[in-house]
Amino acid sequence: MKAENSHIVKAGRRDFVRQLGTLVVGFPILSWNNPGEVIQDLKLPGSLSRHPSLDAWLEILEDNRIRVFTGKIELGQGISTVIRQVAAEELFADIEQVEVVVADTGRTPNEGYTAGSGSVKGSAMSVRYAAAFARKKLCELAAAKLGLSDDQLILQGGVVSHKSSGKQIGISEILNGQQLKTEIELPVDLVSQENYRYVGTDVRHKAMESIVAGKPWFVQDLFFDGMLHARVLRPTTFGQILPDLKPEDGKGFPLEVEVRRHGNLLAFVSEHEYQVVKAYNRVRSMISIPDSGTSHGDLRDRMAKFETENEGQLSPLENLDEQDLTWVEGSFYKPYVMHGAIGPACGVAHYDGTELTIWTHSQGVYPFRSAVSAMLDLDEENIRVIGVPGSGCFGHNSSDDAAADAAVLALLYPGKHIRVQWMREQEHAGEPYGSAMRMDVRAGLRGDGTVATWQAGIWTDSHSTRPNSDAGTLLTARHLPKPKPMSGRGYLRGGVRNAEPYYHVGMTEIQAHFFEGKQRVSSLRSLGAYANAFAIESVMDEMSMLAGMDPLDFRIKNLSDKRAIAVLEKLKATTDGMQLNDDEGLGFAFCRYKNNDAYCAVAARVKVDNHGQVEVEELWAVLDAGEVMNPDGLINQTEGGMIQAASWTLMEQVTFTSEMTTSRNWGTYPILRCPDVPMVHVDLIRPAGVPPLGGGEAATPPTPAAITNAVFRVTGKRIYDLPIGTVSLDG
């Protein structure tokens, strides 16, 4: 059983940088006065620096088409479309001539995880440079082959032509069927913005046709001849050991199903999927669940008690020589929240006696392979992991675990394809959640409406326990005959993501307290930024009222970054003069994601009825994510980010007792349904000549405070604890 305890990092502003500096590489502190990212001409972008060989990124096919490789997986963020756009752009090809191969340890470069809004910056930029370099090389080789000078040659649609003579040669012929194996070198000559044909336009996602036609597309849809279906029962309470099955338990048990006890796992295997489900349900129903009262309710208090001393109290900053400040204080809380993929995790595996092949929706095929290798004591070279699209998960969920289950069973059933899908209850109660967090803020406001000081105490569990060379990052490994528990704590700094306000603040102190709860936790869309921005933007709202200022003007006054100001001004123009009924309110919030990524301001129009029921009617986002490859794709993700965050904010909270998680299906952990989904609007600001900033998660952090600030405008009630649920209107 996991003990609850805490690890404290306490520091003033300077120390904070230094201490986290040992924990963190490049924590974006002080970034508020940084004008933005500078294009690094001296360094290859993203993953290219680690994989500089051209053939790692693209291949020229016999018919002059181009095959591009990306180590990122398609998560519904549209990365394969963006990759096609940039490759076609730089190679002067038709977009239909470009195909993309995603995440496969047998074929694509190792690009780590697909996470943190990093796909465009990491992978698409790498492909862009690789394709531009390939263009240059192809023209040089064509010139040599044709005996002409390369300034007379034009590349278009996979064919190089000579201007005056009209001589032509296909790119495949230039290479004699070989590939470009040279290392990419700088400088590369990128297509300039005014010549773009595809980049920056709304190219449709190819996947849409398969999806609306209902064609097999997901890992859940894979099918192989003779494939066996499996369900794997594992402990349903914290620290439980599964009971042994007795012969009489087999009564009414489907005959075709084989049951195998493997450590603390019970596998049901058969060619007939429904029989497997039936057997699973039967055994599952025999395990009684202790009823021991709720324990999620007082977590916010328990969290802060894991203190060695009284360090959780924020005392007035030493050396603060300013007087006459107005203080705003608040203790904010965000519960555990689920990824809640609509399709429970699924994985397929096959072992031929030497090589293990795994099909998975893991967000990182290479790190997942290391974890499986450590779990099974099998050489990495003998494991191939193939990424297949899955149900939208927005972080590290159970996808890796289901595939690990399949891998374990594949070794027990050599020569067979094994398909494991989790049950809904397993997905709800067994996935790693986004950590609960508590944020205590104390901020001082000057009489002129500027923020003098900001102190925050933050309590958080880990924000990433993604698979890596530690076998215990896979749930499966912890339940094997020889259990391999997880050794580390994972990635803790996710809890301080956006903990520091992006505003100009005279003096800032952040204390981060790392607490370890019983719940399994890992990365969920925007990590701690969602909770931190909720606290910061609630306090900013409070202060704007004390300053007697318009909430947007107040924020603008405390910002110096022009791009940040621009998104707020645009939001102001959009919402100015809006007519509201008495039961409606408008709220605002702003966040620059990770304090160095995309800028996003959100407005919420909210209605609260006289029972305290909150309805989010409409949400607006203004987003500056730098250069945008596919505007409609980014708008789609931003709309989705706001709707998802609205659902978290209004109603989502993992519930549990001291024994087990009680959120076990969509009835006990509901999410927003269509009748309650707000209307959403997204405006992109696209400044010229700036690099892309990760944008897919940027709308998540500002959404909660936009909603709760709107609730405050209607009811005068400040929401400190999420989810909002029903607002108490007494008093």
Partner: protein, 155 residues
């Protein structure tokens, strides 16, 4: 086990099966129609929806024995014989009304059922028709627009 005949997307299929097996498993594993998805098996999410006659139903809850001789349509059966898209499918593509797409088939089936009985639905009627369909990616706003577009295109 019983000899069961069902009609799916205009074709008859006959096989030995337990009557109680949910239609979803028959469609996906026996007929290899993977458009309907397993999401919860509890009638809570709608990713398994198919049309039985003109009504959208949760195929995870419908025993195969209860739909013999009824006309079942899965998302794979919506395109015309000549391969033309159904107006709802067309509208979903035009609005790019999906992200991961796992819920999309069920959403489209709910929409088709709605438009068959009400070809000019109000916004609230569209939303209500989708009440049984969950989406985690937040595609609902686009889905609602797509259905509105399909209704207008169909007039």
């Amino acid at each position: 086990m019983a000899l069961i005949t069902i009609r799916v997307n205009g074709e008859s299929h006959q096989f030995e099966e337990d009557q109680e097996v949910p239609l979803l498993y028959v469609l996906r594993n026996r007929l290899r129609l993977t458009g309907p998805k397993f999401g919860c098996g509890l009638g809570q999410c709608g990713s398994c929806k198919v049309l039985v006659g003109d009504v959208a139903q949760f195929s995870c809850l419908v025993p195969v024995g209860s739909v013999v001789n009824q006309e079942i349509t899965t998302i794979e059966g919506l395109q015309s014989d000549t391969g033309e898209w159904h107006p709802v499918q067309q509208a979903f593509m035009e609005e790019q009304a999906a992200q991961c797409g796992y819920c999309t088939g069920g959403m489209i089936i709910s929409a088709v059922a709605l438009l068959r009985k009400n070809n000019q639905p109000e916004d609230a009627e569209i939303r209500e028709a989708l009440n049984g369909n969950l989406c985690r990616c937040g595609s609902q706003a686009r889905v609602i627009k797509a259905i509105d577009r399909a209704a207008k295109a169909d007039k």
